[in-house]
């Protein structure tokens, strides 16, 4: 292999492949390295939500809305079916209290230019008939969508390769190389590789490469367990979240530690994939790097799904899986140059927003690589 590139991207998930694509599109000579394979980590073990109304108004929502705009033409641009569906989304409120929480968020989102509507349950059920009749209602946003994350990463990787990028799975980066205070490349199991810029897009594994420099990245793996149903005829019209998801994400202090569902951070997230299976999630637990599913986690997710969508009681579950979301304390990803370590660009820590933010992350990070 050539041992000099302009940009080395570490990590072949949706973020790394997106960075590789946008950097290659900007004319950079890019090498992407992954110790495993494309989408072998978190991007191959998550759902495909591109949901706007779960984002906090401010930079978080602004980025998400720019990303949503990129998604509309992305499949054509990549010349790859990423199974993008602009289906709209609902966040379900079980109670008046949850509805008030949504109402507060919606008011701020409207100011930021996102149209979200709070629908009483009778109205919500007109377009999503499987919702339980005794829920309070749902917030509806037409801009929410879904995508297949595995195909997204593969589409980015293939398009980057067509633009001249080298995509190299099976190459593990062991350390960052530093010269005169600047990151100048990486040490891999197959030798050293030098570049003007190194992008760290290794998600939950990102802190490891920085600790030798005395930098402790505040990224922690948060496990999400998801159930997969048998392929079913079309039965959901939107991607669905429930307000518990937002509470677990933004107001963990509101959770009741004596309640198992709260303790596991269960908030419903349901989508029907292009192949008919429903993905039903998810827990939000700190369990280290353990990617196994647990009986307690599966049971809690199933109970919550049955509460929100009683019609799913009889559907068959064929698999469960778990992925590690890169959690940060403020809920925002860590993007851009690292103070005191020029040459290194961060693109990690998206937690549950990696799919929604993947295109804009790649585009913004590519702008740093001048």
């Amino acid at each position: 292999m050539s041992n000099k590139a302009e940009v080395i991207v570490i990590g072949g998930g949706v973020i790394g492949t997106s960075v590789a694509y946008y950097a290659a599109k900007a004319g950079k000579r890019v090498v992407l390295l992954d110790r495993g394979d494309i989408a072998a980590g978190t991007s191959g073990a998550c759902d495909g939500f591109i949901i706007m109304q779960s984002k906090n108004p401010g930079p978080h929502l602004d980025l998400a809305m720019q990303s949503a705009a990129l998604y509309r033409t992305l499949a054509a641009e990549l010349d790859y079916d990423i199974e993008y569906m602009p289906c709209g989304g609902m966040i379900v409120a079980e109670s008046e209290k949850q509805a008030q929480l949504l109402q507060g968020l919606i008011a701020k989102q409207k100011q930021a230019g996102l149209q979200v509507e709070l629908l009483p349950i009778a109205q919500a059920r007109q377009s999503e008939p499987l919702l339980a009749a005794d829920l309070w209602g749902a917030a509806y946003c037409a801009n929410d969508a879904q995508v297949n994350p595995i195909r997204l990463a593969q589409g980015f990787a293939q398009a980057a390769r067509r633009l001249g990028a080298q995509i190299r799975p099976g190459v593990e980066v062991q350390a960052l190389l530093e010269e005169n205070g600047r990151v100048c490349g990486v040490k891999t199991g197959q030798g050293e590789l030098r570049a003007d810029y190194v992008v760290n897009a290794t998600g939950v594994w990102a802190p490891t490469l920085l600790s030798p420099f005395g930098i402790e990245l505040p990224i922690k793996p948060r496990r999400g367990q998801i159930l997969v149903t048998e392929p079913l005829p079309p039965m959901l019209n939107h991607v669905l979240l429930c307000a518990c998801y937002l509470i677990a994400k933004y107001h963990p202090e509101e959770l009741d530690p004596t309640d198992r569902q709260h303790r596991l951070g269960v908030g419903l997230a349901v989508e029907q994939t292009a192949h008919g299976s429903l993905l039903i999630g998810s827990t939000r637990e700190f369990a280290g790097f353990d990617r196994k599913t647990t009986l307690a986690g599966i049971e809690a997710v199933a109970q919550h799904a049955r509460r929100i969508l009683p019609a799913l009681a009889k559907v068959n579950i064929i698999r469960t899986f778990a992925g590690l979301r890169p959690h940060t304390p403020d809920g925002l990803p860590i993007l851009g140059p690292v103070e005191g370590l020029p040459g290194l660009i961060m693109a990690a820590g998206h937690e549950g927003d990696g799919i929604a933010l993947a295109p804009i992350t790649g585009q913004k990070v590519a702008e740093y690589l001048k």
Partner: protein, 254 residues
């Protein structure tokens, strides 16, 4: 249990009743109208530019073919809504006959490809060579395939099945073919999970119980390893499919 009414396919006696005398087929191409049920249908009558097919004013009549007027042009094949008309030609060689039939499956075969010639019920009869695949505009979307078969089978072969390796499905749940799996391995997928990520093989109802060994074998063949060295896929609960409410610990949870 025999006959089109009971099985959907003509019995031997029914087929013999509509087949023209062998001498006629030896003289040149001729239509074989395998229509033995009196149903209200007559597009074949208008389809023939030579007036060789007659149904008459009562459209439930069975069509009658004038063997002398029939020129073997085959235009009627595309007009029969029941795909019941064929063309047989035994004049081209001493040993082979040509059989033409409508074929509405994809992928289409290619000329000179060797395929399985099958009978009216889909059973294998003989290996056959594809002579022509006609997808012209006058065929209105239904391809007409011409096969060369040993003459003794011209009464039996009425369709075909591809035998290309690409048609072997390794993953039956997600319909992933052997060709697709080999392609994925050549593009760098060296484990069962990597093949799954690229092709969906193993993501279906059986969760790889049927295909994982077959896929391991293909990876081993392609990479020169022993199948025992190929990493198995990750196993996850449930071992068998379970309803959501059973997982939730509901009333039906026995």
């Amino acid at each position: 249990m025999e006959g089109v009414k009971l099985t959907g396919a003509l019995s031997a006696a029914e087929a013999a009743s509509v087949f023209p005398p062998n001498e006629r087929a030896e003289r040149g191409p001729v239509a074989v109208i395998e229509c033995v049920q009196q149903i209200p249908c007559n597009p074949c009558e208008k389809a023939c530019p030579f007036g060789a097919i007659e149904v008459g004013p009562d459209i439930t009549n069975l069509p009658r073919l004038d063997l002398d007027k029939c020129q073997g042009c085959g235009l009627c094949l595309s007009k029969c809504p029941g795909l019941a008309i064929f063309l047989v030609d035994a004049s081209k060689s001493a040993t082979e006959a040509l059989v033409m039939f409508p074929y509405e499956y994809l992928p289409l075969p290619a000329a000179d490809e060797i395929v399985d010639g099958v009978d009216r019920t889909g059973r294998f009869v003989t290996k056959a060579r594809v002579v022509k695949v006609d997808t012209g505009a006058q065929r209105e979307g239904t391809a007409i395939v011409t096969l060369a078969v040993p003459k003794q089978y011209m009464h039996d072969v009425r369709s075909m099945r591809l035998v290309a390796p690409g048609e072997v499905f390794l993953c039956r749940c997600c319909e992933v073919s052997e060709t697709e799996v080999r392609q994925a391995v050549r593009e760098g997928a060296k484990t069962v999970v990597a093949v799954k990520m690229r092709t969906r093989a193993g993501m279906g109802l059986c969760q790889g119980r049927t295909c994982r060994r077959l896929i391991s074998r293909v990876i081993a063949e392609e990479t020169g390893q022993s199948p025992a060295d190929i990493l198995p896929p990750t196993s996850r609960a449930p071992v068998r499919t379970l309803s959501l409410e059973a997982l939730a610990g509901g009333d039906d949870n026995e």
